[in-house]
Amino acid sequence: MTRQMTGAQIVVQALKDQGVDTVFGYPGGAVLPIYDEIFQQNEIRHIIVRHEQAATHAAEGYARSTGKPGVVLVTSGPGATNAVTGMTDALLDSIPMIVLTGQVPTFMIGNDAFQEADTIGITRPCTKHNWLVKDTNILAETIHQAFHVATTGRPGPVLVDIPKDVQFAMGDYTTKLKSKTSHYQPRIKGDIDSITKAVEMLEKAKRPIIYSGGGVINSGVGASQLLRELADATGAPITSTLMGLGAYPASGKNWLGMLGMHGTYEANMAMHDCDFMLCVGARFDDRITGRTDAFSPNSYKVHIDIDPSSINKIIHVDTPIIGDIGHVLEDMLKVWKSRGRKTNAAGIAKWQAKISEWKAVDCLKYQSSDTIIKPQYALQRLEVLTKGRDRYITTEVGQHQMWAAQYLTFEDPHRFMTSGGLGTMGYGTPASMGVQIAHPESLVVNVAGEASWLMNMQEMGTATQYNLQTKQFILNNERLGMVRQWQELLHGSRYSHSWSESLPDFVKLAEAFGAKGIRCSDPADLDDAIMEMLDHDGPVIFDCLVEKHENCYPMIPSGAAHNEMIMGDASTEGAITGKGGALV
């Protein structure tokens, strides 16, 4: 028997049916019926943010730290347009997210009604799929379908636009189980012949490398386990993209550190010189490849990805394997074991010796100081003082983000939340709150730059309202540091608008929000100040005044190859030449 309910009741029931425990949102005229239903129940917790963009990033933080989809509820018009950045962010980083938007009543659509926007049209290119529901009878099924699409295959954001009259009208509720199955069923199992071919090449490889990405984390904790097993059993060195950090532990013996534009010397050199590359759930992004025509010129390339459109998009590979990382790695290990666990031991031993030489370069060394806090030093101290804790890190976007990736270590997946593909300043603060809500007992630190942090600072209100313990660790260089660095390298040190002028007093700002503020400018005080932050029972803004003109190294200048990195102490004059200057 089908149950009759109002559209608004259907929304809440469908969310419950999907196991949703938390919704991030902001009300307005076009979603009032749904808010009324939320008011009358206790199973789903609604977190009221201060800006719809923050709701989307909080949902991303929630999703990336739990593996469950994030859910957002916002009103029509400005509510929906404010959510666009977060959806685009989630699309580029493959984060499962369901956004429910209110819409003006069906009979007013197209009339430029108050708070009407063509939400479907605006969000078509920034969602995996979206739906306008004009009939209450198909609302439940559409929401179930939305969850299916967001979480199946390559995850991503979806949007369901619900006109207000559809929320008021009565309709049939369809349960998740009774919903008709979708024809959208991406391939999960990899082709066994391709897997066998990949294993054959791996067995022979003298200089293998595993290059892993966010897809491993999206595939689930099991995939990370299998990745660890594969790397450790075969002795293949392993590097990862920004999005994949934690899938293989930083303490693991085959770990090379992150690769790419600000990756380690050893990771990039190994990528360039390898003879066999196993790309697992990464997409050859331009931050990773450097100049594509000089990318790893002598390697046999295998690419495992659940999204066929990632294959051969940027780098041509020899053996593509389409499927879910967990399933493919499981089959790969099975095949490799059944063929006698062969590796080219002599070759790999030489390869590891070569890698040790590269590691000895110590590419992350920097000029230390007794008088000024170096940003790298601040992160090293944060790392030491939080080591072993149940810790989650989010970041904003800029130099501090790259330093966080370089100087903090990640032992497990789902522990590092950052805006990779879109590079969204303002992501970290709300994301840290989404993480904290999902993990109330854990330590959540947002490593921020002062400029990024200001972009969603209104969320301190959310933090104090829900007593979210997040620690906002601001590496304050009073500069748009990453922009300034590029201006130094590319534009003759003409620092056009890359200053952070008229900054607020962050300590007073914290107090104004009812949080704790700490400022530190002396390296000698840093440990005590960090401990004070960690020991405080409540949200903290930590204003860490750091060296203003520090550059982030190593760096592959745009338009250069992996083996053309510039290091911290090298001269940077003329590092970016010719066509590289046009790249971002």
Binding site: L132, S309, I311, D318
Partner: protein, 186 residues
Amino acid sequence: MNALALKKGASKKSAYDLKNPLGDEVETHTLSVIVDNESGVLARVIGLFSGRGYNIDSLTVAETDHEGHLSRVTIVTTGTPAVIEQIKAQLDRMVPIHSVSDLTVDGPSVERELAMIKVSGKGDKRVEAMRLADIFRANVVDTTLTSFVFEITGTPEKIDAFVELMRPLGLTDLARTGVAALPRGL
């Protein structure tokens, strides 16, 4: 559809071989795409092409399965083989798309397009237009004392040829449907 039927081995030589493993030559392909017949689906397909900078030479769409709510979109596009592979993979992963077939590589296929061509003129030119229309098996669907509207079906090349012949004879208006295509045989 196999989005990955690519030549192998290009990456084993010099780095510069990586650049265009499939060649630079621009090819024209006809893609036949089965989609859910729901509102906005065409906007999605077109948005994919414009957003990613792909070419559309022609595009036709109409419902082909009323019960199943399915439409067939026929797209003629040009690009290097790598771009064509990307287009197919990008289309294939869209939620409302059921299947993508590349009629240009999947085997022999038939393609047809319909055009209506208005030709105005008197005397010899009018007679010559009529004579050529006969040769091309174009039908007259409207006439006045000084004009014809011809209807012609055929391959896009045949229509191009007819249109070129009509230009000096007084072509004043032209409407083309774009290509509809199906694989040959069973």
